[in-house]
């Protein structure tokens, strides 16, 4: 019975062709190349694998990557929720321009973002010279890395929170206000619980993006081992020295972190969906 039901659903022609093209392309472009990481890793013994992963320089690079992308995602979380709020709830001139600009980090090549942000924040740059007077270096420090990661991560939180805020029924807020809640209480008790899953998802996406980011960070980071070397740059260095197996080992750990983050986001989202229904 199950089979006939499935068959009946396929009234629309083209199942074989579209599935064939999809699976063939996915195998050639995504699956086989990804499997090659495991293939290459098999050259390392388990001991060697852990020696690569727990090497001081590797750990330091992961530390820089994780710390900076977490801080950048945090900045994006706060600013993203605020931006989404302002864009949904307020009317002001040039609002559509601001809304469109949010997408810029998706549209602008990362290398250009990288060289522009670096030139702005070096000690002689437009922004860097102001901070240099205060004794703060931006370019070639972790601060610079965070700035680049904030740039690439801006759209994620805004674009996940915005639709939720648009759908949010204003009557609850009105009710809360009528019952005497102040603006802060209304936001914390009424609005925040509604947008929390979306905001966390945006945070996760921005974090994952920052973790894997290369183009915008490589210019501003300075790339000093143990200090401002990020994990993706370490892979790049190992490739240049033809240490393919080591590069594959570090890549695998990065992939695992990214997938764990995305998995947690999925769980948060589906829990929120269940609660809503």
């Amino acid at each position: 019975m199950d089979k006939t039901l499935l068959k009946r659903k396929r009234i629309i022609p083209g199942f074989g062709l579209s599935m064939g093209v999809t699976i063939a392309m996915l195998s050639i472009i995504v699956l086989i190349p990804l499997i090659s990481i495991f293939w290459k890793m098999a050259e390392l013994s388990i001991g060697e694998f852990f020696a690569v992963i727990f090497h001081r320089r590797t750990l330091a690079a992961f530390g820089v990557s994780i710390l900076c992308s977490a801080l950048a995602a945090l900045v994006n979380l706060v600013m993203g929720v605020l931006l989404a709020w302002v864009l949904v709830r307020y009317e002001f001139p040039l609002k559509r321009v601001m809304d469109g600009l949010i997408e810029l980090p998706f549209a602008l090549p990362t290398a250009i973002a990288g060289i522009a942000l670096t030139s702005l924040t070096v000690n002689t740059g437009w922004v860097g010279s102001v901070f240099a007077k205060l004794g703060i270096d931006i370019a070639y420090t972790k601060f610079g890395i965070i700035i680049a990661m904030v740039f690439v991560g801006i759209p994620f939180v805004v674009r996940t929170v915005q639709p939720v805020l648009e759908k949010l029924d204003g009557s609850y807020e009105e009710a809360a206000a009528m019952l005497g809640a102040g603006r802060r209480t209304t936001f914390l008790r009424v609005v925040l619980p509604e947008i929390r899953p979306a905001a966390l998802t945006g945070f996760g996406l921005a974090f994952a993006r920052g973790l894997g980011e290369y183009g915008s960070v490589v210019f501003i980071a300075g790339n000093q081992p143990y200090k401002t070397e990020i994990a993706s740059l370490l892979i790049m260095n190992q490739l240049q020295e033809y240490d393919y197996a080591e590069a594959a080992a570090i890549a695998l750990v990065m992939l695992i972190i990214a997938f764990v983050v995305l998995f947690v986001m999925n769980v948060i989202q589906s829990r929120a969906a269940r609660r809503a229904s």
């Binding site: 190349p33 605020l82 549209a107 250009i112 204003g170 980011e213 290369y214 490739l239």
Partner: protein, 270 residues
Amino acid sequence: MEKKKCRPVPVIICAVFIALFLILPLVFVITEAFSDGLAGWWANITERYTVKALKLSLLSMVAAVVINTVFGLFAAWALTRYYYRGQRILNTLIDIPLSVSPVIAGLIFILTFGRSSPLYPLLQQLHISVIYAVPGIIIATVFVTLPYVSREIIPVLNAIGTAEEEAAALMGAGGWKIFRKITLPHIKWSLLYGIVLCTARSLGEFGAVSVISGHLRGRTNTLPLHIEILYNEFQYSPAFAVSSLLVILAIILLVIRSVVEHRGGKNEQV
């Protein structure tokens, strides 16, 4: 709900943030690009290696857009028009390139086609070089932009449902006719936006292409790689002049997006 009157403080905070992080870099690129005047800008972007890099970028862009548009349409069709086991897994697989670091995207193709790969002897016999050559750049670009078209179409196809197409199929219309007469009019705006997104992303890809290109100037240099070389050689105004081309493209993209969103929204209401 009625829009509240504007409260200035949050709006100003947001405006300052956007101005510092998004507008200032754009202004900076354009200012630097034209620091030698219009003639200097023109000389910079018509320089021999820049034109070569532009050609290679355009070639890999066209390849990525054609391949991913065809793939995106088939994949979106396969994912939304039928029910079967493993549908969610397939959906996740398509999105993988979005969550993979560009450096890793380059690495996997080095491992698949490079000297250490089991495929390498075969490729050598056929005299095909993938790594450090144009095919590698194209394949890495295709990987990075794989989901862009399908992701834009899938939500629209899910939203319109399958009733119209089923009716057409029951009345005897073939697959191509159903697609052209029923599906395409619904998805044309999101398809267009997906293609535009894919175009911009493929021209701008840096990390994956950087890993795979081997930086052979004039042979495997795309625009972003050429910008990197110029910048590292302290040739700032040529670097920003070349960048300005891609910045202009990015701005065009944002305008198209906002138009598409506007038109798409109107269509849904009708």
